[in-house]
């Protein structure tokens, strides 16, 4: 199969499957890391010094080492050291290991963004709520939260767009995401070999998806632009 038009439907189908895996990893990471990041940020802001010290140390380790290294360690460590395939074999095992690595890594980055957002809301806002007799939870939900969200939207959108592309790192443990799918046609797959264009074509998926996210975050930012905080 040498003609582009013969190759295209086969490649398109394979890339779609790969991109589905990319999207799954992206979605699961957000689902896990967004709430976990909030918990970590509360830990690092804790007034109980030993807790905040431990949390800050862990954040330093995770942010200070490559995500690719974390992926390799999480995937291979249980098998090599304990002789136990903790994640199970096959694609689902690789997906679980990738998800855990991504969730931990991204939660640490998100936690710092949350911390900046929470600490960025002036203390006077809380005090204004307090002298009006509001409870702590009323102050958080009715006064602080929206101001915090407004502050974290730009750095969050940055981080989430980075996540779209970082999912390709899972290729290192052979997760069959879109880059893996594109690369397969170079080596030879489904009767196509030596084709470089599928790899270029994967870029189109990333561009389209990050374009959609950019528009989405732009819309949220615009929605919140009616006030200054």
């Amino acid at each position: 199969m040498d003609s582009f038009f013969e190759q295209f439907p086969i490649v398109f189908k394979a890339l779609n499957l790969g991109f589905l895996q990319t999207l799954k990893l992206f979605g699961v990471t957000l689902l896990g890391a967004l709430p976990l990041g909030l918990i970590i940020s509360f830990g690092s802001m804790s007034k109980f010094k030993p807790l905040s010290a431990v949390v800050k140390f862990l954040v330093w380790i995770i942010r200070g080492t490559p995500l690719m290294l974390q992926l390799l360690i999480i995937f291979y460590f249980p098998g090599l050291v304990f002789g136990q395939q903790l994640w199970g074999g096959g694609e689902s095992g690789r997906f679980i290991a990738s998800s855990i690595a991504f969730i931990i890594n991204y939660a640490c980055y998100f936690s710092e963004i949350y911390r900046g957002g929470i600490q960025g809301v002036p203390h006077g806002q809380q005090e204004a709520g307090m002298v009006l007799g509001l409870s702590k939870s009323q102050i958080f939900f009715k006064i602080t939260l929206l101001q915090m969200i407004k502050r974290i939207v730009p750095p969050m959108s940055n981080e989430i767009i980075t996540l779209v592309k970082d999912t390709s790192l899972a290729r290192i443990i052979a997760l069959q995401e879109i880059i893996w799918a594109g690369q397969a046609f170079m080596k030879g797959s489904e009767g196509i070999s030596g084709a470089i264009w599928p790899l270029f074509f994967t870029g189109v998926y990333y561009l389209a998806f990050s374009g959609i996210l950019t528009l989405l975050f732009g819309w949220v930012e615009k929605k919140l632009s009616y006030f200054k905080a």
Partner: protein, 247 residues
């Protein structure tokens, strides 16, 4: 009728003794101005009254009820605190309006959350307050669309919406451009005319002289001189004399 009795309030931050035994009383409908240089403890005193800080010693009695006694309970529960705070309103130097809410919502937020009446009643009362500070045409504006003077007037209406017994002002015009102080002082003056009980920390000497029934001059954490506004014309203590010549 005595609304407020403050007895021997002392407060330190570490080794810094900010308040060293403050005593005064306030009658219903009286206006008290607290003057003094920065660092004399004026703001800390207001913050103790509003339970934003807790005094190390002393008592605060409102309408005969002891709302704070350092010898009994230095750290009351959140529910108790919320009740106590409602005796006082506080207008901040930096306004601290809620940026995401309109003028009307800033004023109605606390009464609505604390269920101080039906939504209609609360809104009607809030509209009246916003009108009385001269901002009826800004009722749906957001704080970022207002000048500093307008924001401070909204902050006054917001504090009044909770119907405090005593309204406190912490240097209400210090963050304003000079041409905007007049509109805020006018509102405070009109409240004095309506016999609102108020405590005003201020650097506006002429205003303090005209609007107050009592003046307290603080220096180094104590009341160095107190009396009627007369004391601004004829200060007895050297410290007040020195302070007044700096204006």
């Amino acid at each position: 009728m005595t609304v407020l009795e403050v007895k021997n309030i002392c407060k330190s931050f570490g080794r810094n003794h900010v308040l060293r035994g403050i005593d005064f009383t306030l009658e219903k409908g009286e206006v008290l101005s607290i003057i003094g240089s920065s660092g004399s403890g004026k703001t800390t005193l207001l913050r103790c009254l509003n339970s934003l800080e807790f005094a190390d010693e002393g008592q605060i009695i409102v309408n005969g009820e002891t709302i704070f006694d350092a010898s009994v309970n230095k750290h009351p529960s959140e529910a108790e605190l919320r009740q106590k705070r409602l005796h006082f309103g506080l207008v901040f130097q930096n306004f601290n309006l809620f940026p995401q809410y309109s003028v009307l919502d800033n004023v109605t937020l606390a009464p609505r959350l604390l269920k101080k009446g039906t939504r209609e009643d609360i809104e009607k009362y809030a509209r009246g307050l916003i009108g009385s500070v001269g901002l009826q045409d800004k009722i749906n504006s957001y704080p970022c669309e207002l000048s500093g003077g307008q924001q401070q007037r909204v902050a006054i209406a917001r504090a009044l919406a909770m119907k405090p017994n005593i309204l406190c002002f912490d240097e209400p015009t210090s963050a304003l451009d000079p041409e905007l102080t007049g509109e805020v002082l006018k509102v405070i003056r009109s409240l004095a005319d309506k016999k609102m009980t108020m405590i005003i920390v201020t650097h506006e000497m002429t205003f303090a002289h005209d609007v107050s029934d009592k003046i307290i001059f603080m220096d180094g954490g104590v009341i160095a001189e107190h009396g009627t506004p007369e004391i601004l014309e004829h200060p007895k203590s050297e410290r007040l004399q020195a302070f007044l010549t700096s204006f």
